[in-house]
């Protein structure tokens, strides 16, 4: 036991493991760049859809259930399907991660807009505000905490699933785990797992801080109730770590 942990410490302190294209520094950069790109793409696709559906109140059942369905589809399968469609490497990883990040953002931005008091919207309309202005100036600020909760869920899931993307021959920190498994190298396997766990936990904490910072001060007290894990199947989504 202690010997094993000593080996793990030695693995981390070997400078060769940090340098080069297969080193920790490069794998970490890959991991975060891919996760960031996938989350931003998903946000660009999902946020307008969720906001507009929320504003019009249409397709609510679809918007709410898309993330329940998303939870049932294994991210493992999405990655492998991606590899069948786009070949191996970065492309299937990117597409799969975007696909996994879209549902929670759609559902949360839809729910966020729907929960805005309809009287407030009617008052804004009475003041002569156009629909676009109502969405941008009235509904969106109130929806921010829930939208950010969705982004947080999606971001954490993306970072987690990126750790699995090594199975489709992409890099990232999951490389150490998959290579460790393939080579029966438990020290590398364990060290890689520590790295993947650390980036996921940091992402969760980091996006939590962003969520707080972006929440309008007046809504901050209420937003502490917006947790990442739903208490009802129809509520805001949180597909498990991949």
């Amino acid at each position: 036991m202690w010997r094993f942990l000593g080996d793990v410490a030695a693995w981390f302190t070997t400078s060769a493991h940090w340098r080069g294209d297969a080193g920790i520094a490069h794998r970490l950069a890959e991991h975060m760049a891919m996760s960031g790109a996938a989350t931003v793409t998903a946000l660009a696709v999902a946020l307008p859809v969720g906001l507009v559906l929320g504003h019009t109140g249409r397709y609510g059942l679809l918007a709410v259930n898309v993330s329940n369905v998303g939870r049932a589809v294994p991210s493992f399968a999405v990655l492998v399907l991606g590899a069948q469609l786009f070949g191996i490497g970065a492309k299937p990883a990117y597409v799969a991660l975007v696909a996994l990040a879209v549902p929670p953002i759609v559902t949360n931005s839809y729910t966020g807009v729907r929960q805005v008091d309809r009287d407030v919207v009617a008052a804004a309309r009475g003041m002569g505000m156009g629909e676009a202005r109502i969405l941008l100036r009235v509904e969106m600020p109130v929806a921010v905490p829930l939208v950010m909760a969705g982004v947080r869920t999606a971001g954490v899931q993306v970072v987690a699933t990126a750790g699995l993307a090594a199975i489709v021959a992409w890099g990232g920190l999951g490389r150490f785990i998959i290579d460790g498994l393939a080579q029966g190298d438990t020290v590398q396997l364990f060290s890689g797992a520590l790295l993947v766990a650390a980036v996921s936990l940091s992402t969760e904490v980091g996006l939590g801080l962003v969520q707080r910072a972006l929440t309008p001060a007046g809504l901050r007290a209420a937003s502490t109730a917006q947790r990442r894990v739903p208490v009802a199947p129809g509520a805001a989504p949180a597909p498990g770590a991949s």
Binding site: R71, A72, P74, A77
Partner: protein, 230 residues
């Protein structure tokens, strides 16, 4: 890049589904499904057995709540592949490793719902139970927990669907249920088991979810009466 053949119509080794392979591998598919169900069943049952006392404790002694929710929250956030990998040096490439990891993921979901369910018990009901002379322990078992059943079942539904998805990842450490078919599809660049494993895993999640909805109706006959009386 090979162009995807239509799902229906074409039927051969290169198509998305090759029915001849499916019919000749019934045993493989059955064994995978059996393993998927067993892994899920024990993960949820053990998870619930741990989450009920932990949730009740965190609800009764508020100072425990941050600790219980914090630890289960950290486990929940660790990616499945990493959690299984962290356990491999201790429990090897075994079913135990898979089961410990899967149970770990159910805890946050279940504990939060136990607490939410107990919180939602109306104070009037509690006062009435106290007035009838129920001790705190009897009140918990006879009044509070039964009223928390809908919230707990909601948690079990989320946990079950989540676990069914995560079981597929355990294919990497030698289990996997339908995940084995998916992994096989990846390793052999063969679409039929990949599609079959994915579809069956989603179907299993949907079936389990539906079954739990029905179970909740059986467990809480009073909520049906109330709904009908409205």
């Amino acid at each position: 890049m090979p162009l995807p053949a239509p799902v229906l119509g074409a039927n051969g080794p290169g198509s998305w589904i090759w029915w001849d392979w499916v019919t000749s591998h019934g045993d493989t598919v059955y064994a995978a499904g059996r393993e998927h169900v067993i892994l899920t069943w024990w993960a949820v049952v053990i998870g619930l057995a741990l989450a009920l006392p932990l949730g009740v404790a965190a609800w009764r002694w508020h100072r425990l709540a941050p600790l219980v929710l914090g630890v289960s929250g950290v486990i929940y956030t660790v990616p499945a592949i990493a959690l299984f990998a962290l356990l491999v040096p201790v429990t090897g490439l075994s079913r135990t490793t898979s089961e410990i990891g899967l149970v770990g993921y159910t805890l946050l979901i279940l504990i939060r719902n136990v607490i939410a369910g107990l919180d939602a018990v109306p104070d009037d009901v509690r006062d009435a139970a106290r007035g009838m002379g129920l001790t705190p322990a009897r009140m918990l078992v006879r009044v509070e927990l039964p009223l928390a059943v809908p919230a707990i079942v909601a948690g079990v539904r989320i946990a079950t669907v989540t676990v069914i998805g995560l079981v597929t990842v355990t294919a990497l450490i030698g289990q996997g249920g339908f995940g084995q078919l998916i992994y096989d599809g990846l390793l052999r660049d063969f679409r039929t088991p990949l599609v079959l494993g994915t579809v069956l895993s989603v179907a299993l999640a949907a079936t389990a979810d539906l079954a739990l909805v029905l179970l909740e109706r059986v467990l809480t006959p009073w909520s049906r009466v109330r709904a009908a009386g409205r």
